[in-house]
């Protein structure tokens, strides 16, 4: 049994220290918000200029001028603040965001991240991805272990256009939790009923066991 998307998000939430400032990327990382325990004093940062992002608004309360970086309507919690984009990226670049949880197209064992463009594919743009990947104190990646065509996304070296080099600390996939090291991905935790052999077959880089 592999980790479901919900499992990945739940596992990712365990990586968030109480009192920390966290930026959640678009897609799978967004789900993590649902698993942050109440009262853990975690502050969500949205790079369009919001700290202390709350849940989606109640029906009828949505404000087109209060959105997250995914352009979804959101709310702001008591203790939240708004600011301009220069201030927002100063927080990111200056290392004041404790953790960024990002999606990925490829991650290398060295922690190189590729998550903004597929070679030959349509360019969606960079957005805040490069700033987050090189600026946040710790980078956690959530991704399926392989592509739809069963190509490994965890590789020895990325061949997709890079977002940042030596950036990712830990990866959580449907198969495992792994740390990036120069020698390979170090296994932290296997999904239930996933074998080491299965993991190795699905990974394009060495797997180190503890």
């Amino acid at each position: 049994m592999t980790f479901s998307k919900q499992d990945i998000a739940r596992r990712a939430a365990q990586e968030i220290p109480p009192g920390s400032v966290v930026n959640l990327g678009i897609g799978l990382p967004t789900l993590v918000a649902d698993f942050i325990p109440p009262g853990s004093d975690v502050w969500l940062h949205s790079e369009n200029g919001l700290l202390g992002m709350g849940p989606f608004p109640f029906e009828g309360d949505e404000d087109p001028q209060l959105i997250n970086a995914g352009k979804q309507t959101v709310t702001v919690l008591p203790g939240g603040s708004t600011f301009d984009s220069a201030a927002s990226f100063a927080m990111i670049r200056g290392g004041h965001v404790d953790l960024a949880i990002l999606g990925a197209m490829q991650v290398s064992q060295h922690g190189d991240l590729a998550n903004w463009a597929i070679p030959g594919g349509r360019v969606m743009g960079i957005g805040g991805a490069m700033d987050l990947a090189s600026g946040a104190r710790r980078i956690l990646v959530l991704t399926t272990h392989t592509t739809k065509d069963n190509e490994p996304k965890l590789v020895a070296a990325c061949d997709y256009p890079l977002t940042a080099v030596r950036a990712v600390a830990r990866v959580i996939t449907d198969l495992a939790v792994l740390d990036c090291t120069p020698e390979g991905f170090r296994l932290v935790e296997l999904a239930p009923d996933v074998s080491l052999q299965q993991l190795r077959q699905a990974t394009g880089a060495p797997i180190l066991t503890p």
Partner: protein
Amino acid sequence: MTRPSSKRRDTIAQALDGLTDGAAIMVGGFGLCGNPEALIQGVLDAGARDLTLISNNSGNMGKGLALWLRAGIVRRVICSYIGNNEDLHRLMAAGAVEVEITPQGTLVERMRAAGAGIPAFYTPTGVGTVVADGKETREINGRTYLLEHALHADFALIRAQRADAFGNLRFWRTARNFSPVMATAARVTVAEVDHLLPNGAIDPDDVHLPGLYVQRLVEVTQHEDPFEYRTTRPRPDAGA
């Protein structure tokens, strides 16, 4: 204290006076959030062409700055994200518009630098990526950085919630985004404001953008303010 400010313009056309073909224009907003809707339409009406558009998304879903793209008045775009801006995808693929994609933090820091008299700065963002192509790198305290340069514009078109006569501005929630920074980087900043108030209406400690950065003000009370993703949760039963 409440005499009419010389910055006030009665019409959009007056607010955009002097905006010529070939101008570099910064336009505030994150996607469609915080767009100066009337000024965007006004540039179209004024017939300016061959523009360089500097804006994070440069339109979306056929709205906002997509109007400029569809009208063919944009020659070049500097942005950070295209996403589902199909108009920009189409024009870029056809080679009709030159597109420079920049990391979002670098884009806004380049504007901040322009406004702050900093001609260039080093940043970690983009090192080892295509963003670094052709740029100077430098090692400082053991880490590698890129040299990025200030980004100026002829006009900044922004939206604010409240203004006073001097041009002090306040923004609402995340509609602030790039707008106050763009205002510092442009030769002429035009603010489209929901409410234009007399001086004294905004406490000195409550000003988001000091009025010296705003050259023209135009009051526009109606906005579409489109949603891109209207996400909600069910309201808990309130009883009754």
